[in-house]
């Protein structure tokens, strides 16, 4: 039965939601201070290539951080000034990416494989990573995340998270190699290092994204999408790093290209969704579930649980993958695939279970809100549209019909209308659950925006 409801007023000063921008600023400040201090210490005492990369990469990290902030804030501004701020954000992020690539080329790859090989490796990893991001974004069947934010998440994973781990892993690795017995004990220590430091670095990015983009971070599904995007970004840069390194090691033996290609296959095809994407998606799932839980203790447990699963998954692969038998025969090729499936498969399967349940949970609540909005009779969502909007296939079918009637512009217009209608339903859901900061006026504006779009589509 459809019943009319009036959205309750916003609850911007909830006790459960401290000033998130303050927390985000504090975490970002800690990250920057840690990066600066450690990079300088690394540079002075270790003088390794990665240390130089982390030192000179600080400016890239700062530019990406500032660019992300300007980008997110741009969408809170009116249309007149938004474009200006979007351009500023684009320039800052673009400069950060270029600077980082330059740093990597000069200080990492030029000294091992050379910038040409680094560029080829980057080009080889681009399509697979783009495919991964495409699939990850498509997983959110009810309410897709904007491309700009998915790409920002991937950039954070590639640039900020990798920068964070360089110094920590250098120190841990150097200390362990000087103190421990080489062999299984040292390997276990290094597996803990990778699991803990890399997941903390990527998880920090997830937390920061959540804190500054909370309006786009709706639930467990969004958490999984952003977490996986950060993991894919991290995997992109790590793949380039491993491919160039392995190329330079085996180049003199005449099979540098083959060695790099095997790395590419292992990381960008076989492990694209099984490795970093899965681990960090768990952190995102934890943050996404915490976002909707009613009390602070459960929120903390959910976030910590996400981190523990991610660290355990990463650790188990690094520590025990070598125990899986891989013959030096043709059957070894099968065993390599089996190894990934057996060791990472259970983690990915668990994540898919969370994702499917989250999609069902999100879909049921969106349907409920679509019905309630239709019942208000305000015209943003019509009763006959409820069934269409709640089904991804129905939405696509109607967009394709619009395409056949009015071509690509017709498709795009209807797509924008559907997106705005789902945004409205999502806004209502969060408002009903008292987990939204924006005032009621924002919802009224959103509703008016939908009505304007409807007139535009009709015209």
């Amino acid at each position: 039965m459809i019943t009319a409801t009036h959205p309750p007023a916003a609850d911007p000063e909830s006790r459960l939601r401290p000033r998130r921008y303050g927390i985000a600023a504090a975490i970002a400040a800690m990250v920057v201070v840690a990066l600066i201090a450690s990079s300088i210490l690394n540079y002075v005492f270790l003088d390794t290539i990665p240390a130089r990369a982390s030192l000179y990469g600080l400016l890239a990290v700062a530019l990406i951080t500032l660019g992300t902030y300007v980008l997110v804030r741009a969408f809170n501004r009116d249309r007149a000034t938004r474009r200006k701020h979007l351009i500023r954000a684009g320039v800052l992020i673009g400069l950060g990416v270029l600077l980082w690539l330059l740093v990597i080329d000069v200080f990492l790859f030029t000294q091992s494989a050379g910038p040409g090989v680094a560029a080829v490796c980057a080009l080889a990893c681009l399509p697979t990573t783009a495919f991964g991001l495409f699939v990850v974004r498509r997983m959110d069947r009810n309410h897709k995340e904007p491309w700009r934010l998915v790409l920002v998440a991937a950039a954070w994973g590639a640039i900020v998270a990798t920068s964070l781990v360089v110094w920590g892993e250098t120190i841990w690795e150097q200390s362990a190699q000087h103190a421990l017995v080489p062999g299984p004990g040292l390997d276990t220590s290094l597996a803990f290092m990778a699991g803990i430091l890399e997941e903390l670095a990527k998880g920090t990015a997830v937390l920061l994204l959540f804190l500054i983009m909370r309006d786009e971070f709706d639930d467990v599904v969004d958490g999984i999408v952003y977490g996986a995007a950060i993991g894919l970004g991290f995997n992109f840069l790590e793949s380039i790093s491993y491919m160039t390194n392995i190329y330079s090691i085996f180049q003199a033996e005449g099979f540098g290209f083959a060695a790099a290609a095997i790395q590419w296959y292992g990381r960008q095809v076989l492990g694209l969704f099984f490795g970093h994407a899965t681990y960090t998606a768990y952190i995102g799932a934890g943050v996404g579930i915490a976002r909707q839980l009613p009390n602070a203790r459960q929120k903390i447990f959910a976030i910590v649980a996400g981190f523990i699963i991610a660290i355990a998954g990463h650790f188990s692969w690094d520590a025990w993958a070598n125990f899986f038998p891989v013959d030096n025969t043709l059957f070894g090729l099968v065993e390599i695939h089996l190894r990934t499936l057996v060791m990472n498969g259970p983690f990915t399967a668990g994540l898919i279970a969370l994702l499917l349940f989250g999609i069902r949970y999100e879909g049921a609540n969106l349907l409920d809100q679509l019905r309630k909005e239709a019942a208000t009779g305000q015209g943003a969502i019509l009763p006959e549209e409820v069934a269409i909007l709640s089904s991804p296939w129905q939405r696509l079918r109607h967009r394709l019909q619009a395409f056949s009637r009015a071509g690509f512009p017709g498709y795009l217009r209807l797509s924008r209308l559907q997106t705005a209608q789902l945004d409205l339903a999502m806004e209502r859901w969060h408002r009903e659950r008292k987990e939204i900061d924006s005032p009621l006026e924002a919802e009224l504006q959103l509703r008016q925006h939908v009505i304007d779009l409807r007139h535009w589509v009709a015209a």
Partner: protein, 163 residues
């Protein structure tokens, strides 16, 4: 908040906690594994003396030149250990690990007294390769207990250039 909605959220939350419990078990097993191979209380106070790491000629089995910490890729090298610096009855071995952690040359395990005439421990060129792999090499003299290395008595790091 409707009870149905909260129940669904609770299922997600509890599922996450169950997965996290499995994660804690995995990490605990990792800690046990670490403790097994890196046993506490194994410091014996014994130190082995590594005379140096020198250029090595596999044809003659002899070392030459000064003690170095960096080698070209087409050079072979070996560590020279003074086994008399270790009590003769202590079971020891000496190993070279390459940049991937693979063993690329070793001597032992045996009581230190039995190794006195095998002071040169060379890095082997991997089978089918022309040169040693570039990167960071670790040389260790280890004390063993029950066949498992439990203490490093001496350690050296070497760098093999990529070019």
């Amino acid at each position: 908040m409707s009870s149905v909605t909260y129940d669904q959220l609770r299922v997600l939350y509890r599922t996450l906690l169950v997965f996290a419990t499995v994660g804690v078990v995995i990490l605990a097993i990792g800690l046990v594994q670490f403790a097994y191979f890196e046993r506490p209380g194994q410091a014996s106070g014994i130190h082995a003396r590594v005379v140096g790491v020198f250029k090595y000629d596999p044809a003659t089995g002899k070392t030459s030149g000064p003690d170095r910490s960096e080698f070209q890729r087409n050079e072979q090298f070996a560590a020279v250990v003074d086994w008399n610096s270790v009590p003769g009855g202590v079971e020891v071995d000496a190993r070279w690990y390459d940049t991937f952690g693979s063993i690329e040359g070793h001597i032992g395990p045996a009581p230190a007294a039995d190794l006195v005439n095998q002071s040169v421990v060379a890095v082997a060129v991997p089978q089918g390769y022309h040169y040693v792999l570039p990167g960071r090499y670790t040389f260790v003299v280890e004390r063993l207990q029950g066949g498992i290395p439990v203490e490093v008595l001496a350690r050296r790091f070497e760098v093999v250039d990529r070019t």
